[in-house]
Amino acid sequence: MTTLLQQIANGLVLGATIGLIALGYTMVYGIIQLINFAHGEVFMVGAFGGLAVYRWVLPESVRGDWYISLPAMLVGGVVVAVVIAVLMERFAYRPLRNAPRLAPLITALGVSVALQEAIRLWFPNADAAQPFPRVFIDAQVRLGDVSIPASGLLLIVVSVILAVLLQTYISRSRMGRAMRATSQDRDTARLMGVNPDRVIVLTFVLGATLAGIAGVLYGSFITNVDNSIGFQNGIFAFTAAVLGGIGSLRGAVIGAFIIGLIKSLGGQYMPGGTQYDYVWIFVVLILVLVFRPQGLFGEAERVRA
């Protein structure tokens, strides 16, 4: 029983991480129907951005105070992630806005590889895994028999709060409505005075903000990072977004928690152990896509006049 609860806790931490990434996937898809395969890399550079702040910006004297170092690293991670995402949109995707859908998709894969290699080449020593400081309170939180590292609990809490804030922003603000209008009919939105370029940039900025925060919190939870963390978690996040119904925010978050739980529970209880945990994730994905191709919360076939 303890093992089960412990694995559920682990699954929720993983789900929280990929949920924050999956929101970026699903938002960008909702607006420009692009699977931005480089979004996992935005998460990765966010983690390295946070690490850079810790190493080169924070003076030694405050590194131990999490309430100073963590916010500083989060800001660093978010800034780096947002800058990369905005550049990516401006120079890689915008010129291809009216190209066949395959072109930006391939470009996204290219951007993904380029970012991984850029970190490997230019971030000092990043050709091997880098230790990431456990900035947040280094303690285990005990809930009954289950213990979760405080940094894991922080990930879950922050992830849920951010998802809720994003949901309110999109459903109840001027730009949020503009985003939804653009995703439903870009030309008509334009004729109502909405500037689609601005909406698209905003979408990338929001996605990158969440990914940057996730990168830093994930780094401090896992305590070492390398340039492939974006790829692994990006694939999980993409799968979560598809599972939940791509384009749906709620779907992305719920899909992410489902995938986190499948990975931790599958690794524990299914034959083959953790070596096969990926298999169960994709088995579930395939089953969902066979019986409900639009995903759990996706719209069935968008109809357009």
Binding site: T168, R172, R174, M175, R177, R180, A181, T188, L191, A305
Partner: protein
Amino acid sequence: MSAAQHRAADTVLEASGVTMIFGGLTALNDVSIRLEEGRIVGLIGPNGAGKTTLFNCLTGLYTPTRGSVRLRGKSLPSDPAKVTSAGIARTFQNIRLFPNMTVLENVLVGRHIRMKQGPIASVFHGPVFRKGEAAARAKSRELLEFVGLRGVETEVARNLPYGDQRRLEIARALATEPEVLLLDEPTAGMNPQETEAARQLIFRIRDTGVSVVVIEHDTKFIFSLCDTVSVLVQGEVLVEGSPETVRDDPRVIEAYLGKPREEVEADVAEAAAQQQREDS
């Protein structure tokens, strides 16, 4: 002419010499129309005459190959979003609401350019944000009331009956606070009662100071609504003038209906008489 009518003679929107060529097709050829403040101008013409193309030129969706469109004497910006800010709003021949948003939200999107909201406030909903949002909602409800949509604001737009969707489109367009409203076939598919309601609605819109251009196939509707009517045939303005002039113009009747029967009979009789004279 009364003083009021004199004042109304300011030109709001003027298209001059608009030519629109797509590849080898000339969709519009040297089209000029003028809209005076507080007036209703009708655009009629057979299918494919270029009416909707002209609307697209008037809203910045197309940039004319030649010619210019001026709003209050200023050239139209080439970006449709900026044209809307400048004061032109439109509806569509095939209704183009945001189908999965609620009725109220559709109108609120129309308020987009008339609202200000900071990015931080939009996430955390401070007092200023709430006030602005409440004002936009109040204004949107007022417009829904104005076009005659009551008690449906939380309904998803695609579930509305057809006639209500058309009215919602008008409310959304009005939410942008336009000087000029372009209506593309506002009564298509409506029954006579709904058409009459639409006519009254357009008069009420005009009375609020908005100038209106209407595309319509229903000539009876157009002639009873508009101050002036332009007839577009094969991309050119065939006739323009008051409804009476246009209605009685034989070229219009011919273009629209083919020749009327009496005229054809007269033509036949005349040809026969001519034949007889030549024979004798």
